[in-house]
Each structure stands twice: as C-alpha cells, then as structure tokens.
C-alpha cells in the first residue's frame, strides 16, 4: 500500500479591482492634497473621519463635507513592545487613538518625537505629513503624529470620544 498523504497545500490567490466608494473617494482625493475631509451626519451632527458615506448610528447617508484639522488629542494609546511580521516601526513605539479637532471619531496613528513613557491621554498632537510630491491616495501620507506643544486637553473635552 502507498504511503497515505496527511496534508495538502492548496493556495488560493484572487485578484480584485476594488473601488473605494463615493465618500472614501472624496477623502482619498483630499488626503492626496494634504487635506482631511470628513462628513457630517445630517441627524446627529457627528463628523466621521475617514467617512464611509453613512452614519452608522442614524442609518442615513452623510453628504455634507467637513474639513477637519490635522491637530488633535490622544484619547488612548498603547506601547508596542513585541515584534511582528510586517512591522515597520522600531520597537518600542506608541500607537494612539487621536481625535482630530472637528471630528467625532478617533483615528489611529503612531506618536513620535516624544519619549514613549511621556505619551499620555490628553496629549495634543499634530500630523507630520510626507512631502507633497510623495503623497498618494493613502493614509500613509501622514507619517506620524508629534506633540504640538499645546497644553494637554482636559479629560472632559474628549471623554465622549474614548
């Protein structure tokens, strides 16, 4: 009798051509120009950034475009100490949720130009952009966030965004 096979490798690879949708397309066009374009819900007035074209709470389309600041507040963060496949940052580094001024949902980014142990909730930060000629339709246009030098934001100002 032949030796039985125990495992087979059946790789699959499928190539898609994806389109981001109407709202994300506007956002990606903006970020290529160094602008952060969110959308406001007509019912609850929350500003989504990046926008998905809908308010998930009110179940209505969002159409009104709102430009959001590239400065914001660290609402929460973690210190990454373990290496993993595909990592681009040197460890340890800080990954933070940043609620940009004018937006109602935090976005995620790396905080640099500050010692890891000094990063804190309420820290005011500012986006560091890649050079205009290197920008594409991607969130990677923001290299990282750095401290803006402003006084820390009071907890009350961002408690709703945690």
């Amino acid at each position: 009798m032949s030796e039985a096979v125990k495992k087979i490798v059946t790789p699959i690879s499928i190539e898609y051509t994806i389109t981001p949708g109407a709202a994300p397309t506007k956002f990606l066009r903006g970020i290529k120009e160094g602008r952060l374009l969110g959308q406001r819900c007509p019912k609850c007035s929350k500003v989504y950034l990046p926008p998905r074209g809908s308010c998930t709470v009110c179940a209505v389309p969002t159409v009104e475009e709102v430009e959001v600041s590239d400065q914001g507040t660290v609402t929460t963060f973690c210190v990454v100490n373990i290496p993993f496949y595909g990592q681009v940052q040197e460890i340890p580094y800080v990954c933070a949720a940043v609620v940009l001024d004018g937006a109602d949902l935090p976005c995620f980014g790396v905080v640099q130009e500050i010692a890891v142990e000094e990063v804190r909730m309420g820290l005011r930060v500012q986006a560091v952009w890649v050079a205009p000629e290197e920008r594409g339709y991607t969130l990677e246009n923001i290299k990282y966030f750095k401290p803006s030098g402003q006084a820390d934001a009071p907890f009350e100002s961002y408690r709703e965004h945690l």
Binding site: M1, A4, V5
Partner: protein, 160 residues
C-alpha cells in the same frame, strides 16, 4: 468577459487576496492521494457495493462510514464534457481543452478532470480516455496531469 475601460475620475486599486491554506486530508482522501503518487487509483466501497471514485469517507446513501478500498482502472468513459476554447488563467492548460466527468473502469461515480484533446471534434460523450500521469507527483489531484483519448497509441499522449 470583456473588460470595460474605467473613466478617469474613478479611483480603483488592484487588490490581491491570498490564502496559503494547508489542509489535513484525513485517512480516506489521504490514502487516495498517496496512491496517485504511485500511479494507483483507489475508490471506496460502500456497504451496498458501489465504488466511489474519488472516494468519500461515508456512504452517500446511508451515511455509514467507509473503510474498504478497491483499486480501479486508469482508463474510463467520459459521461459528460464541455469544451473550453479560451482557458482562464488558473485552468490547467493555456490551450483549448475539455473538462469532463470520467467514470473509471470499475467505478460507479465519475471524477472531474481535464481532457487534453486538442480539438472539440475529438470529444464525445461515451469516449474512452486514460490518465496521463504527471512526471513529478506530490500526492495531490494534480498528479493526474489530465486525461487523453485511450486510442491515441502514443506513450506520451502528444497530439500531432
């Protein structure tokens, strides 16, 4: 399908999804695939005496588990087929070929595989075909490179 030209104002991106699945095959499929490596085709024998090729772990009629195997022939009959004039990228051939269901001699069910026939005029339901084995076999369904007409007479199966 014909691809349409996209208007310039639409953003789009190529997006490749890959999964390198490794699957445990179990005793029944593992025995069948191990046999292919040695150019041997085995089917499973159901309690009512049907021979299933490719084999399954259970009897489709009763659900009973199956552990008996029977060797079947490496030639058989095409029960149905279709002709692919323009193969897709992932198809086993980049030249026109047939997909066919093939009932091997001694089997009661049919196996799906490709038939390298050169031209659709050489395909017919009921025709006899035989295995063309791959030179490098790894214990997978692809160890059967394809099927070819049994009456070709040439060892390597090349169609002139």
């Amino acid at each position: 399908m014909a691809e349409e030209q996209e208007p310039l104002e639409i953003l789009s991106a190529r997006h490749v999804v890959e999964y390198p699945y490794t699957r445990s095959v179990g005793a029944v499929i593992g025995r069948f695939l191990g046999g292919l490596k040695d150019k041997k085709i085995e089917g499973s024998l159901t309690p009512s005496g049907r021979v299933l090729v490719p084999p399954s772990e259970y009897d489709p009629e009763s659900g009973a588990s199956i552990s008996d195997f029977v060797e079947v022939g490496e030639a058989g009959v095409v029960t149905t087929w279709c002709w692919v004039a323009e193969p897709l990228a992932k198809h086993p051939f980049d030249r026109p070929f047939a997909w066919a269901l093939i009932r091997l001699d001694g089997a009661d069910t049919a196996l799906l595989h490709a038939v390298d026939a050169g031209d659709s005029s050489r395909m017919a339901t009921g025709m006899r075909v035989k295995v063309r084995w791959r030179q490098q076999r790894s214990g997978a369904i692809g160890d059967i490179e394809c099927f070819e007409a049994e009456n070709l007479g040439s060892q390597d199966g090349e169609i002139v």
